[in-house]
């Protein structure tokens, strides 16, 4: 547990410093062309990219951007999934079956194609990216919310709330949805790595984060292109990407265990 927290803390601190740095030391984060494609040295621990920007800083800000997109995509997925799932559970009957059938259909689709289609509407901005990712990652969540609500909706406290005159919306938001928080939180944490991989894949194909902004996916793409001659452009981002994913996997597993106990 301690190891995971320390690892997470380092990652967040790194990302935070790199996000804040341009405001305080603008010269450090803009490139120095005399250092273009410099190999790792004591001055630039992870080397420099083609514009002479320090890779340590670029990876940090890329990390921050990836996590930022992942976070908001999770929030979007969470909102859609919770509402959809509770709607399905509460309406029940034929509507329920129809809604769940739709989830199955969505699950069977090549989702990346749909992220791109959503992107056609809102342009290729960061907002578009996380809305699109969130708009396809909610399906499993909605099923879990539905299953959880089906379990609790017949309990006495719901009846009590109803007897005291609470309306449907109030019962839903004040009494039922809080009951799903545990499951939802655990799933969101476990799914975060998958979302980050999706974001990186899209950015890698050039359909996600657009330059000059750079997430880890963009850095990996740039690194992969230059890898045969300048391997440090790939090694740094790749190592950090793996580190980030494994930390988040471990954290998600821990939370899942804590909740299921």
């Amino acid at each position: 547990m301690k190891k995971i927290l320390v690892s997470l803390f380092i990652l967040l601190l790194w990302a935070f410093i790199c996000a804040a740095l341009p405001f305080f030391l603008p010269r450090m984060s803009s490139g120095d062309l005399s250092q273009a494609l410099a190999a790792p040295s004591t001055q630039h621990l992870l080397g420099c990219d083609a514009q002479g920007r320090d890779m340590l800083l670029r990876i940090g800000s890329g990390l921050g951007l990836s996590l930022w997109v992942g976070l908001w995509a999770s929030v979007v997925a969470l909102i859609i999934g919770t509402l959809y799932g509770s709607l399905s559970a509460l309406l029940g009957g034929r509507v329920d079956r129809l809604l769940m059938r739709f989830v199955e259909i969505v699950n069977a689709l090549p989702l990346v194609l749909f992220v791109v289609l959503v992107g056609l509407y809102i342009g290729r901005s960061l907002v578009a990216l996380f809305v699109a990712i969130g708009a396809i990652e909610w399906t499993t969540l909605s099923r879990m919310v539905r299953a959880r609500l089906l379990k609790v909706r017949g309990r006495d406290f719901v009846l009590a709330a109803r007897t005291m005159g609470a309306g449907g919306t109030r019962v839903l938001f004040r009494h039922l949805i809080p009951h799903t928080f545990g499951v939802v939180l655990a799933y969101t944490m476990l799914n975060l790595p998958a979302i980050l991989v999706l974001e990186a894949t899209l950015s890698y194909l050039g359909l996600g984060v657009q330059p000059p902004q750079a997430s880890l996916g963009v850095l990996l793409k740039e690194g992969a292109e230059a890898m045969t001659v300048y391997p440090w452009l790939l090694c740094g981002p790749a190592a950090v990407f793996i580190w980030m994913l494994s930390t988040l996997y471990a954290a998600g597993e821990k939370i899942r265990k804590m909740i299921s106990e």
Binding site: I105, P110, V112, L117, G119, L120, G206, L220, A224, L234
Partner: protein, 302 residues
């Protein structure tokens, strides 16, 4: 009669998805003719007429659907005069073989590995090798692909371009390695649960070895989840293949898709999405049928 219902379900699903996709693409702001170079209104009208965009949307929709089912997928808007059908028939075999090889690697090695872990007598002190293997799940194809490419290059191999099936080996290995741990894990969990059953112990008591008893009496129940997981895997392989194709410069469908998005090649985009949807829906449905045969208990009613 038994196969009629899933078939109808498939058709309905495909129809719904095609409808959604059609309207999503057609109603999206901007259009295929909004290029950087300004074109005169007359030219625009001619173009729109040529592609039938001057008709009412509903009519376009009906034509699109009927054409899809008749196998006429339209003509690409940016790749001069090539029909979507031609592009598909030229590029899809490469993507398909890539995905099949990857699946064979993932399943062919994943199941024996998972079975091996489950079949060994349990021990607390020995760490499971699954941890080492799990590294691959954190190495999505776009991280692993360039690294493998570099290693192949260093060893004097060819790591770019397409010259027959031979050049699909490394790409499909990269693609398959990502799914291998999941399949191995599912297999392991499945067989471990089987090893707690009474009939497994009975089989052992009757003199079968541990391995033989576990496989012969357990495979049916243990491999069900693996079979069910193939559906999501296939969907994931599509995306993974796009990345791997880009890295290796393979003439598959990935490149066409990315270009179609960037250039707003609406017919090609629609065609590709429709094509993949049909394939995946059919694949999922056949898996469902196989699953129902495999384990009649899990058959879904309705």
């Amino acid at each position: 009669m038994r196969f009629l219902k899933p078939l109808l379900g498939c058709l309905l699903t495909v129809l719904i998805v095609l409808t959604i996709v059609f309207f999503m693409v057609r109603l999206a702001p901007g259009g295929p003719f909004d290029t950087e170079r300004a074109i005169s209104n007359e030219q625009r009208e001619i173009l729109q007429k040529a592609y039938g965009f001057d008709r009412p949307l509903i009519e376009q929709y009906v034509r699109f659907i009927s054409k899809v089912f008749r196998g006429d997928w339209g003509v690409s808007m940016t790749l001069e005069g090539q029909s979507v059908g031609e592009i598909l028939s030229r590029a899809f075999p490469v993507s398909l073989m890539l995905a099949i090889f990857a699946l064979v690697i993932a399943v062919g090695f994943g199941i024996p590995l998972g079975f091996y872990w489950a079949a060994r007598p349990p021990s607390r002190t020995r760490p499971t090798p699954s941890h080492a293997l799990y590294l691959f799940t954190m190495l999505p194809s776009f991280v692993l692909a360039p690294i493998v490419q570099k290693i192949v290059l260093l060893c004097g191999g060819v790591a770019y371009g397409y010259e027959g099936l031979r050049s699909l080996f490394w790409p499909s290995l990269v693609l398959g390695l990502y799914y291998l741990p999941f399949i191995a894990r599912l297999t392991q969990v499945g067989f471990q649960e089987e090893s707690r059953t009474l009939y497994f112990r009975v089989a052992q008591a009757k003199g079968l070895s541990r391995v033989a008893a576990l496989w012969r009496h357990g495979y049916k129940a243990a491999l069900g989840p693996v079979l069910a997981y193939l559906g999501p895997t296939a969907a994931g392989l599509v995306t993974g293949a796009f990345v791997v194709e880009t890295v290796w410069g393979l003439p598959g469908l990935g490149r066409f898709f990315v270009n179609a998005v960037f250039n707003r090649d609406d017919t090609l985009l629609l065609g590709l999405v429709a094509f993949y949807t049909i394939i995946l829906v059919v694949f999922n449905a056949s898996i469902e049928i196989i699953l129902a045969k495999w384990n009649p208990q899990k058959r879904r009613n309705g």
